[in-house]
Symmetry: C2
Subunit: 516 residues, 2 copies
């Protein structure tokens, strides 16, 4: 590490000439072409956990898509006229219209002068007045309580009770959040402790939504992969959970199990029986359950039904319902509303130790509060227009149009891939994604490796360059060694989705031929 | 640690009867009265860094204030009729009105049907249309790019250039955030690394805003305290920086220096000369600078002026401006707008290594994006009505009323304390707070210690119980050993602020007598 400085001077500074300082700097820093020798914060010196973080949904492929869009705008000739974004579950970016009532109430809260405007329906005005009365200074510009506005937490609790057939929900167990991501990371933060072999391990499905792996990397926790069964429509197999848990106990302390239902990126809907088995497993193995249920409104397949972990837990009786620790997450970014930009969600915690729950309350207070505009919109999602309200009919109609269109797109997607040789796609039972498996010729795999790319990244980049279609390689979500996938959303407008599916199949056929 | 299990069964589970499991659990868990023996997540097993987090601004004193408000509502007799909240810089909660133009544009973006409403001014409509065109699908319900909407980053850059007399600002160096807190924590996250004596140390002013200490606790970084000079109007003394830095180098690796200007909780405005000295110090000692400048619009004292660190850095010449790493933070929660509920802010990073800046971009992408409603409002703050625009006059008038009222309250506050024996208060030159030093009789200090409370917490709790006034003890911000303070905001409406100040002085006199 070079020569140590001799001694501090009178004012206590280590006086070393700056030229010498550079000589005694560790070699990695001085020799790195990117790093200016004097920088404090370099790739070498920065937080190593942050460096490990990966988030494919907004990774290099999306950066390239943005670039291509700019090139198109500048008139650069491409083999396509527009980039179609199938990379992210962002419904309104793909043209989905917001629910009118939600935006009316939000506009009234934003600018209460409008409460005198006869063009706004009465129920929207009443709702806005009720919400404003619950805000500090009757303004959405005031901070709220850190776990969220109390009235809205109460509305969430009633919504959960209604959804779960009357099983009670205590508003004190409801924490509003800046999107579901925020709440998920907060719970993971509480769970992480220990060093070396006693480090907290968290079980994640593979394929998974990369928020989870990113958060665990940042928190320096151990990711324990359990594989979903692709041959069985991405079902969760408890035997697989047991196997991976046993192995993980050799090198970490497994403490939590994440489930994403309906699945992201895999689009399956878990059966009730399977949820029971998972809960029994968590009880038996003393694991904290994280149930990511943000797609609970997005169920399309005949015979599929959403069962909340909370409801199943309570229906399994007090042996489970009084002991299994559960955090369940919801969001306004998905469902039929797709209000991603508002960044709002909530979690309910069950059987959390009161002293830990106090720590959770303290922890969320440091960030003051989730965005109040998002809390307001969340309230509308959990406290909807009722039969007889002036806005009821329009609300139901708008909601129905979104959900039935999504169901149609889900069917269209799985049908299209069923007819494509070399592409295998499970039914899109729920959520907003298909995760097809693609066969890639050995020569393409070699070529990708020669270029230092994952083979499915190689495929997706070529797809983007030649067709303008932006989807995310399966390697960003995790997949069985030797298999290749991509995730695409079913969100583009029907006519664009049809083109996308057609182009994708054609491109895959051409790609296969080219590298055979 | 008790008996180990014998062996796994065929399915790989360690089969131990649950009763026995409880016996072999570490004693700490079984004996804790609070913890249910079977819980995974307990006060003992949770993340120890989270346990260390403290955040006084929303701590126990505020919880008690909320309780008192509820009791008053229920008709419980108290020696006061309302709780006056002086604990948090939440202007609109204290009755400050939002800027009309900001809310008009936001309402138009929220519910674009209103673009046809003749009651909205044309410039508001134009601004809304410009912003909507920059949103995915022309909707604020779509995710934005993770560092924020590009158009708004450009507007921020122009705002900074204008503020700093033309010094260039690259929009690529601007990152929008979920309030300034979010950006501050993100930069600290990048900076933290090492173990033991190589652990990152971060220099914080004392008194400080407890977001900083909370973030460092959570990240397990080392907090290095430098004391502001209360006898010299809370000035920052570079000799003190040198002294503390030298000491800190014995036990950690100091890598960053935080400055809050104007000061929170101390309300001082830093002189240009002092900023130059700090920059020179950071250059000399190779420290990354974090400049918290969220109160840049809140300057009240004659002769005080806001100087941005960026501007001073560049005016000191290339030796500094090409090497000192700086992140500067701004927010829409303070200033004249006080839009806390929207959770929006931005940071500009200067001289950050490009590879690290890529890591920063990746890191913020995991949380997808800051709330778009907040980004929209931030755009209005940095891109205001101009002379000739229909909304210009009303905007200027509303802004002026807020700022001149705040200046009046700042003077009122320092005057009131100047006349109170046993209370010493520096001039409130800027920000939104006074941080008076209070003499507490030795018997009160003893009594507090007997009850396990910080003496100023003891004082503030008694103040709350007897007068309904809610202020935060100095111990929540840090203070010189043996001195006692509280932080109060100057935000209550004038008539309430007068009552608050009068009651506070009277209570302190009575308290002093009681414990003498």
């Amino acid at each position: 590490m070079g020569l140590p400085p001799k001694a501090p001077d009178q004012s206590g500074n280590w006086k070393i000439p700056r030229a010498l300082q550079q000589q005694v700097r560790p070699p990695g820093m001085a020799e790195n072409g990117l790093a200016r020798p004097d920088r404090v914060l370099t790739l070498e010196s920065m937080n190593p956990c942050v460096k490990k973080v990966e988030y494919a949904v907004r990774g290099p492929i999306v950066a390239r898509a943005v670039q291509l869009e700019k090139e198109l705008q500048q008139g650069v000739k491409k083999p396509f006229t527009e980039v179609i974004r199938g990379n992210i579950g962002d419904a309104q970016a793909m043209g989905q219209k917001p629910i009118t009532f939600f935006r009316q109430v939000s506009a009234l809260c934003m600018y209460p002068e409008l409460l005198g405007d006869p063009n706004f329906p009465e129920d929207a005005k009443q709702k806005a007045q009720r919400l404003l009365a619950a805000c500090g200074g009757r303004s959405i510009g005031a901070y709220s309580a850190s776990p969220g506005i109390e009235l809205i937490r109460q509305d969430v609790a009633r919504f959960i009770e209604h959804r779960d057939g009357g099983i009670p929900c205590n508003p004190d167990n409801v924490f509003l959040s800046t999107g579901a991501s925020d709440a998920i990371v907060t719970v993971l933060k509480l769970l992480v402790s220990g060093e070396g072999r006693s480090r907290t391990g968290v079980m994640l499905p593979i394929p998974q939504y990369p928020l989870y792996s990113a958060a665990l990397a940042e928190l320096n926790a151990v990711q324990i992969n359990y594989y979903l069964d692709e041959e069985n429509c991405w079902a969760l197999d408890v035997g697989e959970l047991k196997r991976t848990l046993r192995q993980a106990r050799d090198h970490c302390q497994p403490r939590a199990l994440c489930i994403i239902n309906p699945g992201n990126p895999t689009g399956q809907v878990q059966s009730r029986r399977c949820i029971e088995e998972v809960i029994h497993f968590a009880w038996e193995e003393r694991l904290f359950l994280l149930a990511d249920e943000v797609y609970q409104d997005n169920i399309y397949a005949e015979g599929s039904q959403f069962h909340s972990f909370k409801k199943v837990l309570f229906e399994m009786g007090p042996k489970y319902s009084e002991s299994v620790e559960l955090a369940s997450f919801h969001s306004i970014s998905k469902g039929y509303m797709g209000e991603c930009g508002f960044r709002a969600g909530y979690m309910e915690v069950i059987n959390m130790e009161p002293a830990v729950q106090q720590q959770l309350t303290k922890l969320v207070s440091v960030r003051l509060c989730p965005p109040v505009t998002g809390q307001i919109l969340l309230d509308m999602v959990v406290n909807r227009p009722q039969p007889g309200d002036p806005s009821y009919q329009q609300f139901c109609q708008e909601k129905e149009v979104v959900l039935s269109t999504l169901a149609k797109k889900a069917r269209l997607t799985q049908e299209a891939f069923r007819q494509s040789p070399g592409i295998h796609c499970n039914p899109v039972q729920g959520a907003m994604y298909a995760f097809p498996r693609i066969q890639l010729p050995p020569r393409a795999v070699q070529e990708a490796k020669a270029q230092g790319q994952a083979p499915d990244m190689f495929f997706c980049l070529k797809l983007l360059e030649e067709t303008g279609i932006c989807v995310v390689p399966g390697s960003g979500f995790g997949q069985k060694e030797g298999t290749f996938h991509f995730r695409m959303t079913i969100l583009p407008p029907l006519e664009k989705l049809e083109i996308l599916l057609q182009k994708l199949s054609q491109f895959h056929a051409k790609f296969t031929q080219e590298y055979s």
